[in-house]
């Protein structure tokens, strides 16, 4: 096979468009979210903020709808009192295999990488925000201004993650810094591949209900593969054919009894 840079643009394009291209990824990082386990406690939301240098935007920005939550919990009510029920669903970047955001970015600041991740390159972003328009999951967040951390809160910032400047789109990366580190460690150990469970994004790590499972779906023995094969598995907005890498397991309801 030719090296990546030796192939012409057309050759590459043809390859990207070939059905099954994404099945041949290095890894196919996948997350499953068991809605029957999820309690909506938002530990994952905090973990994400801590790990990924999400800004403290302040009350005013919240009132304007400019909060940044790579991981958020959506809540949907069903029924009326006394039979009202509340359903939670954690929503984060779905790392779609056919991501609408990837086609629209004019500068390729967002693209699909060989690990099946929907990458967002902050320093390439020019801020057209079209990816957020195209994203049906609304998980892309825009930096409307530069953010400030009252010192010494800035000392908490994770040095492995860029602090985003104004005018840049950002979103969940599946904690790429942790994936990268796990790969680094694997290489240090002389291993070719990362072991199952070695990478845990912050939200997965934090979840007190162990509702989130993360791993490589190409590895049939991984926990996430087992989880994906649960008959309850489904994808949100499946009808849009975005083919997300985040797979939800249906919430179980019971008869009275």
């Amino acid at each position: 096979m030719k090296r990546d840079d030796e192939r012409g643009m057309h050759e590459k394009w043809r390859e990207y468009r070939r059905p099954g291209y994404y099945e041949e990824l290095d890894y196919a990082w996948t997350m499953t979210i068991d809605l029957d386990r999820c309690t909506g406690c938002e530990a994952c939301v905090t973990a994400c903020k801590a790990e990924n240098n999400l800004p403290i935007v302040g009350e005013k920005a919240f009132a304007q709808g400019r909060e940044i939550q790579w991981m958020r919990i959506e809540r949907y009510w069903e029924g009326e009192y006394p039979n009202a029920r509340l359903r939670f669903i954690p929503m984060l970047c779905q790392h779609c295999e056919a991501a609408p955001c990837e086609t629209v970015c004019p500068v390729t600041a967002t693209y699909h990488n060989q690990d099946g991740l929907n990458a967002q390159i902050y320093n390439r972003c020019i801020g057209t925000r079209s990816c957020a328009v195209y994203c049906p999951y609304e998980v892309r967040y825009f930096n409307y201004n530069n953010h400030h951390w009252d010192p010494p809160l800035d000392q908490q910032l994770n040095p492995d993650v860029t602090v985003r400047e104004k005018g840049v789109m950002e979103k969940c990366t599946f904690c790429i810094q942790r994936i990268r580190q796990a790969k680094d460690l694997a290489k240090d150990d002389g291993r070719r591949r990362v072991r199952d469970g070695e990478v845990q994004p912050a939200c997965v790590q934090a979840c007190p209900a162990e509702a989130l499972v993360f791993g490589d779906r190409k590895d049939p023995a991984s926990r996430v593969s087992a989880s994906m094969n649960d008959p309850r598995a489904y994808r949100v907005l499946d009808e849009l054919n975005t083919r997300p890498s985040v797979i939800y397991l249906k919430k179980v309801t019971t008869d009275a009894g």
Partner: protein, 458 residues
């Protein structure tokens, strides 16, 4: 042919047009100063504030990440449509009534395109990196994303801008020469340069005629494609109410519609304030009125169709988006749009209305307000009602946005005011073609082939 036109002689045309360039009253300067000041205060200052602070200066939020800037962008692109496109269509169909108005219509195209490009800059989060959207070899070894409709946009608009500039310039060369010959001092030098040594020989006329017609033919599909491509920014998304195949024709029709209305406005102002009463006449308003009526009917049809497809889909996503547009926070704007763009233009059925100048001005402005509203609603409501109800939101433009909207009009006016003092805003040579005097002259031998029937009197 209206009487006022019939009474014109070549010399009158020359004198009137050159006068419009040379004689500048204090009123002009005051207007220019106002426009310039308004551009500064309402456009540049807020923009710098926004560059400094970030898009936080605007009212956009999650999930409504596009706002008035994007709406203004489509609006200005739309406004740009009629000028050159109409001019080209009328040129190749030999519609002689075009000749008095096409220059300013083309200028409108050019300047609204420029303003549209500025709106893109205003819209971007990091406009200082906009060059990354252009394909050029660079040390990062990266290319833009050719799959992106936004990149199609960049290409289409850049092409259209180039085409329109060349078109308007080319059509002006004989006029520049005419002005050159009637001015002195720095103006003479300027027009000497601008006219590129035009002498008015048969060969020159012949070549100009060919080039002009060729360009006209090329620009027509280009103009249609530009707004189709702009519409793909929306239509190729999967946002409910935006993801529609009708969008390309819808946008093109809307664009021509608002552009034509824009021409009416500009015609009125030129006629009134630049003393072109004898050139821009009831005939023009009548014809433009007919065009407007036709366009308004097509536009209304597509709007009804949009409602129908939304309802017929039966999908909650489409229905909710439609419901929000029709009855939500911005419902008054929707009905205002319907009033301005679908109902009011029905007045154009009456010829008396079409040939009365002030009512036409009012209507043309109303249509453009309505069309701006349309664009605002497309951007400002659809994104608030996407797939996940939990993420629904509300978008209200901020003061900075509104100010920049006003400022963009001022910017356009400034550019136009400068234009009328540099370009002959009524085409001298083409108007002359329509005069009775033209018939008296011997036809040059090239006329048969080149379609140019007249040669200026030196």
């Amino acid at each position: 042919m209206p009487a006022e036109v019939a009474s014109l002689r070549y010399a009158d045309v020359n004198r009137d047009v050159v006068r419009s360039l040379v004689e500048t009253g204090p009123k002009y300067y005051i207007t220019l100063a106002c426009a310039l000041g308004l551009t500064l205060v309402c456009f540049l200052f807020p923009w710098f504030y926004q560059l400094n602070l970030g898009i936080a200066a605007a009212g956009m939020n999650h999930p409504q990440v596009w706002g008035t800037y994007e709406a203004s962008f489509i609006f200005w692109i739309g406004l740009s449509h009629s000028g050159t496109l109409l001019s080209c269509v009328l040129h190749i169909t030999h519609s002689s009534w075009r000749k008095a108005m096409y220059r300013s219509a083309e200028a409108m195209t050019l300047f609204s395109l420029m303003v549209a490009v500025t709106m893109v800059m205003v819209h971007l989060g990091r406009p200082w990196f906009i060059h990354w959207a252009f394909p050029y070899p660079n040390q990062m070894e990266l290319w833009p994303n050719f799959r992106s409709p936004l990149l199609f946009d960049v290409t289409a608009i850049a092409t259209y801008l180039t085409g329109s500039s060349v078109f308007i310039y080319m059509g002006s060369i004989p006029d520049f020469a005419a002005v050159r010959d009637r001015t002195t001092g720095w103006r003479h030098h300027l027009y000497t340069l601008l006219s590129l040594g035009w002498r008015g020989t048969d060969t020159e006329w012949h070549r100009l005629g060919w080039a002009y017609t060729l360009l006209a033919v090329l620009i027509i599909p280009l103009a249609v494609s530009v707004h189709s491509i702009v519409s793909w920014d929306w239509a190729s998304s999967i946002v409910p109410a935006l993801h529609q195949t009708i969008f390309a024709p819808y946008f093109v029709v809307g664009a021509i519609y608002s552009g034509t209305a824009g021409i009416v406005t500009v015609m009125f102002l030129l006629r009134k304030y630049m003393s072109f009463e004898r050139y821009i006449t009831e005939l023009h308003f009548d014809n433009l009125g007919k065009l407007l009526l036709a366009l308004s009917l097509i536009w209304t049809y597509i709007n009804v169709l949009e409602l129908f497809t939304g309802w017929y889909s039966g999908a909650s996503t489409e229905l909710e988006a439609l419901k929000y547009k029709l009855f939500g926070y911005y419902a008054p704007l929707y009905w205002e749009m319907i009033l301005c763009c679908a109902i009011a233009p029905l007045l154009l059925i009456s010829k008396r209305f079409r040939t009365s100048f002030v009512p036409m001005l009012v209507l043309s402005i109303a249509i453009n307000i309505g069309m701006y509203t349309e664009r605002f609603l497309i951007v400002g409501t659809s994104l608030s009602r996407k797939y996940l109800p939990d993420a629904w939101g509300l978008y209200v433009p901020s003061l900075v946005e509104l100010s920049i909207l006003v400022g963009s009009v001022a910017l356009f006016s400034t550019l136009f005011l400068l234009f009328v003092k540099i370009f002959p805003s009524v085409s001298i040579y083409e108007v002359k073609e329509t005069l009775p005097e033209a018939a008296e002259l011997p036809k040059p031998a090239t006329a048969e082939r080149g379609g140019v029937q007249w040669q200026p009197v030196q």
